[in-house]
């Protein structure tokens, strides 16, 4: 007896009309999904995994169309169904959960009302009982105090909470198919685990089929029965999660597996076989530290010493500003929020230290204070024997000392001036603060830096939008090392990159550190990446340091419960 599959995608091709002609985002793919099954679609950006899901829901943009093949949902021909029929299906029979939950919700409509909209649209509740129903659904996605939260706007909720609301929206009508498109990207690991567990519980309880679209093989394998691997619009492999992990058959799957940071992997091991050998060669070819010993190398004092660093922000009260204008002075002690609460740590020369923690733990505030972009409230920041914490942020930007601390930012696109070419971006710090290699023409210096970070020289004339993510990351790194700094603060430098690109960039960072003798402060939420790159780890939570020590010890045998929780929340493939 062969049951009709819930979803049957046959030979699907999706085309987009772009300025440069027709682009095929998805080519001849076949995917089937049985009732109640959980399927993962894994691939890097541009693999066509999201486009596939849009085609299933038939919500492609105006420019996109299904060019070939068919999509059948419980026997209904999605490609040729009238729009009215499709609208009835969407939200009621198949729904979708999106990446970036805050943006996926209407910012100026109460979340409860948004759930009501869906319920009323699909006649799941009578108008007089719809509010109760919406509150009940909020309760079902385990939102505490649902009656209150019904009236909340998305900006008043945390990212994880917003994702629960999006799940509530998607599951309000108990659909038969749920498509989750990168549902936890950008969320903290512990939140990710809570959201994924919730999703699995709810879909299982209601016997829904789920498609989980993700770039994270580990996540897909941990939560799905079957995994489809996509590359450049094609399906390269379909197998059970266990089989994919134990014996991946396709070269691309193996490459993805290799590139995913995981316990037991080495930094070099992330690169594909042929590239890791090449990487060894580049290390040898790259210029060695040019003999010039830095003045204070002999002293064994750490490069950076942070002591009882504190940053307070005034908590914005609603009436406070008015109270200040009228009436007597408010109570003597204004309420403050401690973003960073008296932390102390050191970074040695040539050492790389990982600063990990979940969003809101104060790691970014800490890095901004070290970069002297914002002023501290209290404590000291000693850099190479000088108390740079005492120098006001505005003044510090013009000091020669500024050259010696540089930063690489999280978003390689947003951190580049869109009107600067790559060469101009790299030259920027040199033009502003002066080149340590005096007498060398700026252009030649840019080319040397480009060679150091492995950026082809013919790309130097391009603008950021003409470069790929990995290339932009290289420009950002070249800019940071242009002044030969002693310390680089890396703020999640690979969070926006695909795993294979991340593998290359991480290796590049390691090579540069060795050849230039720099120290890194590596801010990240990804413990697996930190494990590969860092000598020591600092775990932060709510502005305080929970635990710090050598990487192997902290991540291997954590002392603090919080570190253990963080480690446990990382999705583990079923091996």
């Amino acid at each position: 007896m062969v049951a009709i599959p819930l979803l049957d995608i046959q030979n699907l091709t999706v085309e987009f009309a772009t300025r440069r002609g027709i682009v095929r985002a998805v080519e001849h793919i076949n995917i089937t999904l049985a009732k109640g099954e959980t399927l993962g679609i894994v691939g890097e950006s541009g693999s066509g995994k999201s486009v596939t899901s849009y085609a299933v829901m038939r919500i492609l943009d105006r420019a996109g169309r299904i060019a070939e093949g068919s999509v059948h949902f419980t026997g209904l021909d999605v490609r040729n169904a009238p729009e009215d029929a499709m609208r009835d299906l969407r939200g009621r029979e198949m729904s979708m959960i999106f990446q970036n939950p805050r943006a996926a919700l209407n910012p100026i409509r109460k979340v409860g009302r948004q759930i009501e909209d869906v319920l009323l649209q699909h006649v799941q509740a009578a108008p007089n009982e719809v509010t109760e129903k919406a509150i009940e659904i909020l309760d079902r996605v385990r939102i505490a105090r649902p009656r209150e939260r019904y009236h909340a706007y998305p900006f008043e909720l945390s990212g994880g909470m917003c994702q629960r609301v999006v799940i509530a929206l998607a599951l309000a009508c108990r659909p038969r198919l749920l498509i989750a498109d990168e549902p936890t990207t950008g969320l903290d690991v512990t939140t990710q685990k809570a959201v994924m567990d919730l999703m699995v519980d709810l879909t299982r309880a209601n016997d829904m089929a789920t498609i989980l679209i993700t770039h994270d093989l580990g996540l897909a394998a941990a939560y799905c029965e079957r995994v489809v691997v996509m590359e450049k619009g094609r399906v390269v492999e379909t197998a059970s999660s266990e089989k994919i992990f134990k014996s991946p058959s396709h070269a691309y799957t193996r490459k993805l597996m290799r590139a995913t940071p995981r316990p037991g992997a080495s930094l070099r091991g992330l690169l594909p076989e042929d590239m890791s050998e090449a990487a060894e060669k580049t290390v040898k070819a790259s210029p060695k530290p040019n003999g010039k010993t830095k003045s204070s190398d002999k002293t064994k004092a750490p490069l950076l010493m942070v002591d009882k660093l504190l940053k307070e922000y005034p908590r914005q009260g609603l009436q406070s500003s008015l109270a200040k204008l009228f009436g007597p002075r408010p109570a003597p002690k204004p309420e403050v929020f401690r973003a960073v609460d008296g932390i102390s740590f050191t970074v040695d020369r040539g050492e790389s230290v990982g600063l990990v923690g979940e969003s809101g733990c104060g790691k970014s505030t800490t890095s901004m204070m070290l970069m002297r972009l914002i002023d501290k409230t209290d404590g000291t920041i000693m850099f190479d024997g000088e108390d740079i914490g005492a120098i006001p942020a505005k003044k510090f930007a013009r000091l020669p000392l500024r050259r010696r601390i540089q930063m690489v930012f999280q978003d390689p696109t947003d951190s580049l001036n869109p009107r600067f070419t790559a060469a101009r971006a790299i030259a920027d710090p040199i033009l502003r603060l002066g080149d340590p290699e005096d007498g060398m023409p700026v252009r030649a210096r840019c080319e040397e830096l480009a060679r150091q970070v492995g950026l082809p020289l013919d790309l130097l004339g391009r603008f950021p939008h003409q470069l790929s993510g990995g290339q932009k990351a290289r420009v950002g790194i070249a800019r940071a090392i242009a002044l030969k700094p002693d310390l680089i603060v890396l703020d999640e430098p690979t969070a926006a990159l695909d795993v294979s690109v991340q593998a290359v960039v991480l290796n590049l960072l390691q090579d540069l550190k060795e050849s230039l003798g720099m120290s890194y402060l590596f801010v990240s939420h990804d413990l697996n990446v930190v494990r590969l790159l860092c000598d020591r780890v600092i775990v932060m939570r709510a502005g305080k340091i929970v635990e710090q020590g050598p990487t192997g010890r902290v991540l291997g045998a954590p002392e603090a419960d919080y570190t253990r929780d963080l480690l446990a929340a990382i999705p583990h493939p079923p091996v």
């Binding site: 829901m57 919500i59 105006r62 609208r87 009835d88 299906l89 969407r90 939200g91 009621r92 729904s95 979708m96 999106f98 970036n100 943006a103 996926a104 919700l105 209407n106 910012p107 100026i108 409509r109 909209d117 869906v118 649209q121 699909h122 706007y153 900006f155 999006v166 929206l169 998607a170 609603l318 009436q319 500003s321 008015l322 204008l325």
Partner: protein, 337 residues
């Protein structure tokens, strides 16, 4: 919400003080000697200085300013030298005429421009999008006096549908009792429907002229803002939830796209209110713009000062209303304030 409103009001005080000082100084800096002007072309030097003393122009600037502020505090904006009427009375009579015209023009404009912008945004590069582009381009590139004259030529001279473009009301009608100063509203309040029709027929052509001119910024802003919102994630979510296109476009997209449109509306309104002199001239409209221009040409201080001050107060009030509207539409604004 209330605290925000109060705070905005308080921020308006310094700018109003600034306006008072600047209008006073500016009118003093105007070329031309009002005393010589009013004494007449044949006046002797003696007569001129007599007029000057009468006007208080022989005193120092500081004394003149204190007197001006003192009068202002009592709600006295001085008398117009050309008409001899108190400026307050004249403005009270003329401001409603301008406001009625501008408001109606703006309402007509919004009724056309907003749907046009929304349609153009939902179907980019379609026929309606091109039509929208054509209409808006034509609207801004034709000068208002030109569109005004064309409308008069066609609808009054050729077709005879519209009454003669001679002010707010045909001479056979007597003005309604002043309640709001808006003829349309006053005539309705007093139940005089024939008067309402007469006032409306006088109002239609000039209002249409203004509407054609103000169409462009509103339609373009609506289109651009809708395009941005329609491409956002939450609209995709709404679509994926199976909501009807109407709900998606109106409840989800348009409410979010409204904020920049409202800002544009405020700017267009305050611009039109003071700057539609040309329309007022073409239609012999007894508005505030032509009043100010005439006074300016006659070096008549008091009306100019009164005009600028009135406009400044209106502008502040308008901005306040826009801020409050913002707060009503977007809950995030309420918190930030």
């Amino acid at each position: 919400m209330w605290s925000m409103t109060l705070k905005r009001l308080m921020f308006a005080i310094p700018s109003l003080i600034g306006v008072v000082i600047i209008t006073f100084l500016l009118t003093r800096a105007l070329p031309g000697d009002p005393a010589a002007y009013f004494a007449g072309p044949a006046a002797t030097q003696e007569a001129i200085s007599q007029v000057r003393a009468k006007l208080g122009l022989d005193k120092s600037l500081l004394v003149q300013f204190t007197r001006y502020v003192g009068d202002l505090a009592r709600g006295d904006l001085g008398n117009s030298l050309t008409t001899g009427q108190p400026v307050v009375t004249e403005i009270r009579n003329r401001l409603p005429a301008s406001a009625e015209l501008t408001l109606l023009g703006l309402i007509v404009s919004v009724l056309i421009a907003v749907p046009l912008g929304i349609l153009a945004a939902t179907k980019p590069d379609s026929l309606i999008d091109h039509a929208c582009r054509l209409v808006t381009t034509a609207g801004v590139s034709l000068p208002v006096f030109f569109t005004g004259l064309i409308l008069v030529y066609v609808f009054y001279y050729l077709l005879g549908w519209a009454p003669a473009p001679l002010g707010r009301l045909d001479i056979f009608f007597s003005t309604p009792p002043q309640i709001t100063g808006f003829y349309l509203i006053d005539s309705l309040l007093t139940g005089k429907f024939d008067l309402f029709r007469a006032a409306l027929s006088q109002l239609l052509l000039p209002a249409l002229t203004l509407a054609i001119f103000s169409l462009a910024p509103i339609a373009r802003m609506t289109r651009a803002s809708m395009l941005a919102v329609l491409a956002s994630d939450f609209v995709r979510t709404a679509r994926a939830s199976g909501l009807t296109p109407f709900t998606v476009i109106v409840t989800y997209a348009f409410r979010n796209a409204m904020l920049p449109v409202i800002t544009t509306l405020g700017m267009v309104f305050s611009f039109l209110l003071g700057a539609n002199v040309l329309v007022e001239k073409v239609f012999a409209w007894p508005g505030i713009g032509s009043y100010a221009v005439e006074a300016l040409l006659a070096s008549d201080f008091a009306p100019v000062q009164g005009f600028v001050l009135t406009m400044a107060v209106l502008y502040v009030a308008l901005n306040l209303i826009i801020d409050i509207l913002y707060g009503l539409i977007d809950p995030r604004v309420r918190i930030e304030a």
